[in-house]
C-alpha cells in the first residue's frame, strides 16, 4: 500500500517537472523547427515537412548578419576586457585590504547594476552626441561597464576571499614580491572563477538591448538590436526570423554550458555560493 502511494507520488512529481520542461524548452524546439521550414511550407505544415537550409543561407550569406554579430563581439568582448583589467585589482583590494568606506565603495559599485538603464541612457545620449561617442564602439564599451563591472568585481572578490591569507603570508616570508604573489599564486587559484565571471559578463553584455538600441546607430549595431529588424513587418519571413534568433542565442547558450558549475555564484553576484 505504502509503496503504491509512493509510486503515484513519484509519477506525479515527474509529470509536473515534465510539464514545466515542455513550457521551458518547447519554444526553443519550435524556433529550430521553423528555422528549417521553407516559406512555402510555413503555413501549411506543423511537424512533418521538408527541412531546408535556405533560411540559413539567406540570413547568413545574403544579409549583414555577420557584421552585427561582429559588432556584438567587439562591444561585449571589449567591455569584458576592460572590466577584467580594472575590476580584478579592485576585487582584490576589496577582498584583502581593510580601509575606510570599503563597504560603501563595494555597494556603490553594486548599485550600478540596479540603476534604471533608461535613466543613464537619456542624459548619456546628450553627452555622447557632444563628445562624438554616439554610435561608436568605444561609447558602447564604456556604457557596458555598468553591466560587466559590478558583476566581475563582486564575483571575483568572493573568490579572492575564499583563498586563505596564510598562503600569501607564507609566500611573503619566502621573499616573493607582491606581483609574483598576485600573478603566480593568486591568479591561477581564482582562474576558474575569473573565467566564469568573465564569460557570464560577456553573456550579459551580448544580451543587452537598451544600451545599444539608444546609444548605437548605423555604424555600431549589435545583434540584439539588429534582430528587431526582422520583427513586426507585414512581410515577415518567419523562417529567417527563427534563424536570426537561433544564431544570436547560440553563443550565450554555449558559454553558459561551459560555466555551469559557477553559474549560481555568478548570477547572484557571489551572494549564493552554489
Amino acid at each position: 500500500m505504502k509503496t503504491g502511494k509512493k509510486r503515484v507520488l513519484s509519477i506525479l512529481q515527474n509529470g509536473l517537472l515534465a510539464i514545466y520542461a515542455i513550457f521551458a524548452l518547447f519554444p526553443l524546439v519550435w524556433m529550430l523547427i521553423l528555422s528549417f521550414k521553407s516559406d512555402t511550407e510555413m503555413f501549411t505544415t506543423t511537424f512533418v515537412f521538408h527541412p531546408t537550409l535556405s533560411n540559413y543561407t539567406e540570413v547568413l550569406m545574403n544579409s549583414d548578419y555577420f557584421r552585427y554579430m561582429l559588432d556584438s563581439l567587439i562591444v561585449s568582448g571589449g567591455a569584458v576586457l576592460i572590466s577584467v583589467l580594472a575590476g580584478v585589482p579592485a576585487a582584490y583590494a576589496l577582498a584583502r585590504y581593510d580601509f575606510k568606506k570599503k563597504e560603501d565603495i563595494a555597494f556603490q559599485i553594486l548599485s550600478f547594476k540596479f540603476a534604471p538603464e533608461i535613466l543613464v541612457v537619456l542624459p548619456l545620449f546628450m553627452i555622447y552626441q557632444k563628445l562624438g561617442l554616439y554610435d561608436t564602439y568605444f561609447g558602447l564599451i564604456w556604457v557596458y561597464q555598468l553591466i560587466s563591472m559590478p558583476l566581475l568585481i563582486w564575483v571575483v572578490r568572493g573568490y579572492f576571499e575564499d583563498i586563505s591569507v596564510e598562503i600569501e603570508h607564507a609566500a611573503q616570508v619566502d621573499g616573493y614580491s607582491w606581483y609574483q604573489i598576485f600573478f603566480k599564486m593568486l591568479l591561477p587559484l581564482i582562474k576558474p572563477g575569473l573565467v566564469s565571471a568573465a564569460l557570464l559578463a560577456f553573456i550579459f553584455a551580448w544580451n543587452s538591448f537598451t544600451f545599444p538600441l539608444m546609444l548605437g546607430g548605423i555604424n555600431v549595431q549589435p545583434i540584439t538590436v539588429a534582430v528587431t529588424k526582422y520583427l513586426g513587418t507585414d512581410t515577415a519571413h518567419y523562417g529567417q526570423l527563427a534563424v536570426a534568433a537561433t544564431v544570436s542565442a547560440l553563443p550565450a547558450i554555449i558559454f553558459a554550458l561551459c560555466i555551469q558549475k559557477h553559474l549560481v555564484r555568478g548570477l547572484s553576484f557571489g551572494a549564493v555560493k552554489g
Binding site: 515527474n14 526553443l28 580601509f99 542624459p123 591569507v165 544580451n207 534582430v227 548570477l267 555560493k273
Partner: protein
C-alpha cells in the same frame, strides 16, 4: 570565517603604516570606480535637466523648476505608467518565485537522471537575450505560424488574442518574463537546498516532525537568504523591464503596457521632450532604491537567523 581572519591580519596596524601604503587600496580600486562613475555623471545631469524644458529640437533651454514634475504628477499618463510598472513587477516576480521554488524542490527531491538533465537544459531560456525571447514567443503565438493556436483549437479555443488585446497583453508579457527568468530563481533555490546542513533534519526525524513542520521550521528559514537574493534581483529587473515589452508590443495595444521605462523613452526620444521625460524615470529610480534597501535589510536578518539554526 576565512574572510574575517584575512582582513584582521592585514589591517592589524593600518594607521601605523606610511601614507603610501595606506593609500594603496584606494589607488587599486580607483580605475574601476572612475570608469563606472564617469558613466554615472548622467545621474546628476538627469536631476538637473528634469528641472528644465530641454528638448533635442530646440537650441536653447531654460530652467523651469518643478513645472515638469507638477505636470507629470497631475497627468494620467504617469499614474497609468506607474500602475503598469507595479503590476508587471508584482505578477512576474510572484509567479517566478513560486514556480522557481517549486521546480527546484522537485529537482532536488527526485534526483534521478531526468532531473539531472533538466538541471542543465532548463537554464537555456535564462541565457537568451530577453529581446530574442520575445521573438521565440512570437513564433509560438503568431496566429498563422504559431503552434499555440493549433494547440488551443483542440480545446475549442479559437483566436486567443494574446498581445493584440488590452485584456490579455499583460498576461502575455508576464508569461514571457516568467519563461525567461524562472530558471534564475530555480538555480538559486536549488543551490540553497543542496547546501542545507544535514544534522538539524536528522534530529527533526528523531523528533518525528511532519514534512510540513520540517519545511516551515527548518527548510524555509534556512532558504530565506537565497530567496531574498532571488527576490532582489528579479524585482529590480522587473520594475525596469524594457526589452520584453518593447519587443512584443512597443507598449501597446494603445498604451496598455506603457510602463515608466517605456514612457520615459518615448517621451524623450520620439517626442524629444527631454526634460519632461526625466521625472518618470527618476521616480522609478527612487522606487527601485527604496525597495532594494528594504530587501537587503531583510536578507541580512534572515542570514543571521539561518546561521543560528544551523548550529
Amino acid at each position: 570565517m576565512a574572510k574575517k581572519n584575512a582582513t584582521d591580519k592585514v589591517s592589524c596596524n593600518m594607521n601605523a603604516l606610511p601614507l603610501k601604503t595606506r593609500m594603496r587600496p584606494y589607488l587599486i580600486v580607483a580605475p574601476a570606480l572612475i570608469i563606472t562613475i564617469g558613466i554615472m555623471i548622467p545621474f546628476a545631469m538627469a536631476i538637473y535637466f528634469s528641472l528644465t524644458n530641454y528638448s533635442f529640437r530646440m537650441p536653447t533651454y531654460k530652467f523651469v523648476w518643478f513645472e515638469n514634475w507638477i505636470k507629470i504628477l497631475k497627468s494620467e499618463d504617469f499614474w497609468r505608467a506607474l500602475w503598469v510598472t507595479l503590476r508587471y513587477a508584482f505578477w512576474s516576480t510572484l509567479v517566478e518565485m513560486v514556480l522557481g521554488m517549486g521546480v527546484a524542490m522537485l529537482l532536488n527531491k527526485l534526483n534521478n537522471a531526468f532531473s539531472k538533465i533538466l538541471r542543465v537544459v532548463l537554464i537555456f531560456p535564462l541565457m537568451i537575450a530577453p529581446i530574442t525571447a520575445t521573438i521565440v514567443w512570437q513564433l509560438m503565438l503568431n496566429s498563422s505560424v504559431g503552434i499555440v493556436e493549433k494547440f488551443l483549437n483542440v480545446f475549442g479555443v479559437y483566436n486567443f488574442p494574446w498581445a493584440a488585446s488590452p485584456d490579455t497583453a499583460m498576461l502575455t508579457v508576464v508569461m514571457i518574463d516568467v519563461w525567461v527568468n524562472t530558471a534564475f530563481v530555480m538555480l538559486l533555490v536549488l543551490a540553497g537546498l543542496q547546501s542545507l546542513p544535514k544534522s538539524p533534519f536528522e534530529s527533526a526525524k528523531i523528533d518525528g516532525g511532519s514534512a510540513w513542520f520540517n519545511f516551515k521550521n527548518l527548510t524555509l528559514p534556512m532558504l530565506k537568504p537565497s530567496l531574498y537574493i532571488a527576490l532582489l534581483f528579479r524585482l529590480m529587473a522587473a520594475l525596469q523591464e524594457y526589452a520584453i515589452i518593447f519587443g512584443l508590443t512597443k507598449g501597446g495595444p494603445g498604451d496598455t503596457l506603457m510602463n515608466l521605462s517605456l514612457t520615459a523613452h518615448l517621451t524623450g526620444f520620439k517626442f524629444q521632450k527631454f526634460g519632461y521625460a526625466l521625472p518618470y524615470i527618476l521616480v522609478l529610480w527612487v522606487i527601485v532604491n527604496i525597495t532594494a534597501k528594504q530587501i537587503v535589510k531583510r536578507q541580512r536578518a534572515a542570514q543571521k537567523q539561518a546561521s543560528g539554526l544551523e548550529s
